[in-house]
C-alpha cells in the first residue's frame, strides 16, 4: 500500500490542506510527520507543504533547509521517490540545493494572492505524467517570494534537460509579462530535478483540488496529486 508523508516545519500552514486532498479526497494513506521525527526514508512519497517555516527569517526556506529531515528527503530523492515541494516547500528544496536556482522576492514587492493559469511544459515528472503537454491548469498562488531566478547558463541547462514543468500563461496559453505574477525568469512556475522525481512549484494545487474551491467547479490542481499517486500505483 502506497504511503505518503507530509513534512511539517515550524510555520508550515498548508499541511492540513494537503492532508485533506491526499487522505480524504484521493484516499491514499498519508501521515503528517514533524520534521524532527523524519529520520528514515520509510515512505513512498514526500510532500513539503506551503507556509512560512521559521518565519521566513534570513530567506524563505533557508533555515528549514538545514533540518536533518532534509537529509531523509535527499535520500528519498536519490532513491527516485516522488518529492513535491509546494510554495514554501519549493523554497526549502531550492535552499537545500535539491532543486537548482533561487526564489527571490516578488518583482512587485507585494504579497500576491490570485488565481493563475499554468501551462504543462513537461510530462516526464510523476506529478504531470497523466497530463497532456501544453494543457493549462488554473491554480492559485499566495506568496511574497516567488520570483524564480537562475544564471543564464544554468537556465539553458534547465531548458535542455526539460526541467521546466509549469509556466504562467495568459488565456491564450502564451507566457506573457502580464501573466507573470512575480517576475519569475521566463514565466517559470515549477521546475524538477534532472531525474524528474522532485518537483517544486509556487502555486498551490491543494487549493484547487475540490470542486467547491475551484473555478467552474473544475478542480484542476488535483491532476498533480492524482498523477503522483497513479505513478506510485503503477498506472501512470
Amino acid at each position: 500500500m502506497v504511503k505518503v508523508a507530509i513534512v511539517q516545519f515550524p510555520g508550515s500552514n498548508c499541511d492540513l490542506d494537503a492532508l485533506e486532498i491526499l487522505q480524504k479526497t484521493i484516499k491514499v494513506p498519508t501521515d503528517l510527520v514533524w520534521h524532527k521525527d523524519l529520520k528514515q526514508d520509510h515512505y513512498d512519497a514526500y510532500v513539503l507543504p506551503g507556509g512560512f517555516s521559521y518565519g521566513d527569517y534570513l530567506r524563505a526556506g533557508a533555515i528549514a533547509a538545514t533540518s536533518p529531515s532534509l537529509e531523509t528527503v535527499r535520500e528519498a530523492t536519490d532513491n527516485g521517490k516522488p518529492v513535491l515541494g509546494i510554495c514554501n516547500g519549493f523554497q526549502i528544496l531550492v535552499e537545500a540545493g535539491i532543486l537548482p536556482g533561487a526564489v527571490l522576492r516578488n518583482a512587485g514587492l507585494r504579497f500576491v494572492c490570485k488565481w493563475t493559469r499554468l501551462r504543462i511544459e513537461s510530462i516526464k515528472t510523476p506529478f504531470t505524467r497523466i497530463a497532456k503537454m501544453g494543457q493549462t491548469l488554473r491554480i492559485p498562488i499566495a506568496h511574497n517570494e516567488g520570483r524564480y531566478f537562475l544564471d543564464n547558463d544554468q537556465l539553458a541547462e534547465l531548458e535542455k534537460n526539460e526541467q521546466v514543468v509549469l509556466r504562467y500563461v495568459d488565456e491564450n496559453s502564451t507566457p506573457t509579462a502580464d501573466s507573470n505574477p512575480n517576475g519569475s525568469l521566463d514565466n517559470i512556475a515549477a521546475i524538477c530535478n534532472i531525474d524528474g522525481n522532485v518537483m517544486g512549484l509556487m502555486p498551490h494545487p491543494e487549493r484547487a483540488s475540490l470542486p467547491i474551491l475551484s473555478p467552474e467547479n473544475h478542480p484542476e490542481g488535483r491532476i498533480i496529486f492524482d498523477s503522483m499517486i497513479k505513478t506510485l500505483e503503477g498506472e501512470g
Binding site: L104, F149, G183
Partner: protein
C-alpha cells in the same frame, strides 16, 4: 597573542543579473523624486553585523567567510556576499 573582539559585517545582495526591485523603487520613487539625480543606481541588500573573537582581523574575516559559505548565509545561485572587518 590573546583573542580580541572584532566587529565583522556581512553584506548580501542580489547578483547584478538578478533584478533588485527594492533598490529600483528606492532609487526611482524616493531618491530621484527627491531631486538627487546624481545618484545613478541603488541596490538593496541585507546586512548582518557580528561580534567575533579572533586573534587578528584576518582570522575574524576568514571565520565569518567560512560560516557564510558553510551555512549558506547567502544563496550562491542568486547572491553575492561581501565580508568586511570594522574594528
Amino acid at each position: 597573542m590573546s583573542p580580541a573582539s572584532f566587529t565583522v559585517e556581512v553584506v548580501v545582495e542580489n547578483k547584478p543579473l538578478a533584478r533588485d526591485p527594492e533598490g529600483e523603487t528606492i532609487h526611482h520613487n524616493l531618491i530621484m523624486k527627491g531631486g538627487y539625480a546624481q545618484v545613478t543606481n541603488v541596490r538593496a541588500g541585507k546586512l548582518l553585523r557580528m561580534n567575533v573573537e579572533a586573534r587578528s582581523p584576518e582570522d575574524a574575516k576568514q571565520l565569518v567567510r567560512k560560516l557564510c559559505d558553510d551555512l549558506r548565509i547567502y544563496n550562491p545561485a542568486s547572491h553575492i556576499c561581501q565580508v568586511r572587518v570594522l574594528s
